[in-house]
Symmetry: C2
Subunit: 345 residues, 2 copies
DNA sequence: AGTGTCGCCAAAAACGTTTACGAAGCCCTA
DNA sequence: TAGGGCTTCGTAAACGTTTTTGGCGACACT
């Protein structure tokens, strides 16, 4: 005899009453409830999650879907991992379990998520790396699974999402570079289909336009979001006849690779090429010369995601402001020495 | 009508047969199986996890227990997060789900784990930050839950574990420092009850003894495993009348704080104080002067843990070598400039 | 005294799946 | 023709909960 049945037999009351006592239902004598609670604590009873999930139709877990590529090179995984730290903390307060949903690059994210939903493994999900048209969103809507997206899509966004404030960053970065005399400004965006690239590119073009500048198409450089990607950005720039005097990098790791490439060419970041980057983690903290970058706390971002997600879940919605969250996550400029004045050549 | 029942009705066969067909049981006509498989794919059917878990008594998930402190300062979380990246990849191959089990610092890890086990939330667990006497191990053994520990305990270790090769590191670090003329060597260990601290301290003392050196008790410095902890190590050393000429740091972040403290005092790492550190992540990659450190791949460590854990699970044991894994994880020395020759003062 | 109302609890159904068991049909052999 | 073995499938029980339903007694009110 196991589980609640054992507990009930031990107390000589019915399992229904035990269940109601443990779940705080009103129609149970307070003295009985106390007996049940004491016995449960003493015997170390906790309800079997499968049984509870089956009956309740709810799993008490939320999923965080990330893409994992098997390549050995360090990639943007670090980004998601930092977010997980914030998520666990926030979900712990509500006794929600976090299950990591790693989608292999070999599989269609939509199909992967479809299987997760069909299995009813989680009550709600966080999707990341949103694409311009992301079928996962239609899937989740149709299945009535609460969700929040980390990243905008191209379409109308009635659902909850949080995205980095790429427009704000682009404008601030461009304004700063223009003030320092730069006119030939390049931007590096990821080479995948992730919507982030399009958003940042457009924000960048718009920011330049505000200063009366147009962008040379070759100055929009697509690269992997890794250190190696940064290295290839260096290659691309060095190969240009008419080089940009400044470049804005959308991933932290890119800066590291670009520094390396410049150093190999005997050039100095911030002197021969102005660089403005992002900083999600501590990686670029000790680059020399110090990287001028936009910084964010991944942990806080994780907490924000948890709150935005909970707000979309019927059982928790009353704790949070109504309506799906649409939030542009602000970033803070950290002044370094990598975005120097333009030098006549 | 939902789930397997719907599928069965749609095909006009019994749910039992459908289930057997999907699970590859032998007693089902191959043509029938094909019909079932096709229909399942077309309708996007996947078995409800709660129902399956309840019946099978197995959840298809493994848990990774970590401790999360709510403090804002970046702590060793980064260590665990890196491991998660490796875990997800390895578990993905076996279609196992990973659930993160964050234990609040306010709660007894044993009680927390006890609840997880009672809920039967996961089939197996990875525990980390093992203590010298860790009651979680007795709990898991008694409950017959397969597990692997990241970190040794003080007791007899019949169970599976992986730990960093602290002995090897201590010996290599000390030998290197002694060869450079250092005789007054300090070590920094965590200020918590985690077993790692004792292991490293003992290995350190033993390594010194091999070179005929004894250790000044004040040279065993306890500090938090964070950047701030490294800063306090600097304070402690600077306050000593008879300072060590070298120090070995057991956490990556410590080096960053110690560098900062030394710089504030107008001292140069590697010149006024030799430093040997650890490097789990990319944090200290760009410290100047470059940190001499022992490096490891957290991702590989995660993969190793997954394999060690699977070997203890009856359903997977045949894929892996028999017997619980006891592994000292090797680390690789990265030569920097922070462990210079001793200078007469 | 009859009728509601309330507090408390037992009984039983339901959630979706897997699997033990047995039955039906068929072929083959004695 | 009886019986045995094989293949294939349907039936039903079981997993551990939660929740609905209803019942019993006590009490209050008319």
């Amino acid at each position: 005899m196991k589980g609640i049945k054992r507990l009930a037999q031990h107390l000589d009351i019915s399992i229904g009453t035990v269940s109601r006592a443990l779940n705080g239902k009103p129609d149970v004598n307070e003295e009985t409830r106390k007996r049940v609670l004491d016995a449960a604590a003493k015997l170390g009873y906790a309800p079997n999650q499968a049984g509870r999930s089956l009956r309740r139709g709810t799993t008490n877990a939320i999923g965080f879907m990330i893409e994992t590529n098997e390549e050995t090179e360090a990639n943007s995984d670090n980004f998601f991992l930092g977010v997980i730290a914030g998520l666990t903390g926030a979900l712990l307060r509500h006794n929600l379990d976090l299950v990591v949903l790693p989608c292999s690059v070999n599989e269609d994210p939509h199909d992967y998520l479809q299987r997760i939903v069909a299995r009813r493994l989680v009550d709600a999900v966080i999707i990341s790396a949103t694409q311009r048209e992301d079928r996962r969103i239609d899937l989740l809507k149709a299945a009535h699974v609460p969700f929040i997206a980390l990243g905008r899509t191209g379409g109308p966004d009635e659902h909850a999402w949080i995205d980095l404030d790429f427009e704000g960053v682009a404008h601030e970065a461009v304004a700063r570079l223009v003030a320092r005399g730069h006119k030939q400004i390049a931007v590096a965006i990821p080479d995948t289909d992730i919507n982030l690239g399009y958003v940042f590119r457009d924000a960048f073009i718009d920011a330049l336009a505000r200063h009366g500048l147009t962008v040379d198409p070759s100055f929009i450089i697509r690269a992997r979001s890794s250190e190696h990607g940064g290295y290839t950005i260096g290659n691309a720039i060095l190969a240009m006849e008419d080089r940009p005097t400044a470049v804005v990098l959308v991933y932290e790791m890119m800066a590291i690779g670009l520094y390396r490439r410049l150093n190999e060419a005997g050039l100095t970041p911030g002197q021969d090429l102005a660089i403005v980057g992002f900083r999600e983690g501590p990686q670029s903290q000790f680059l020399s010369p110090a990287l001028t970058c936009f910084r964010m706390s991944l942990r806080d971002l994780g907490i924000g995601l948890a709150e935005g997600l909970l707000a979309t879940m019927p059982d928790y919605a009353d704790l949070y402001p109504a309506g799906p969250m649409h939030k542009l996550w602000p970033m803070e400029l950290v002044e370094g020495e990598s975005d120097g004045m333009v030098i006549d050549r």
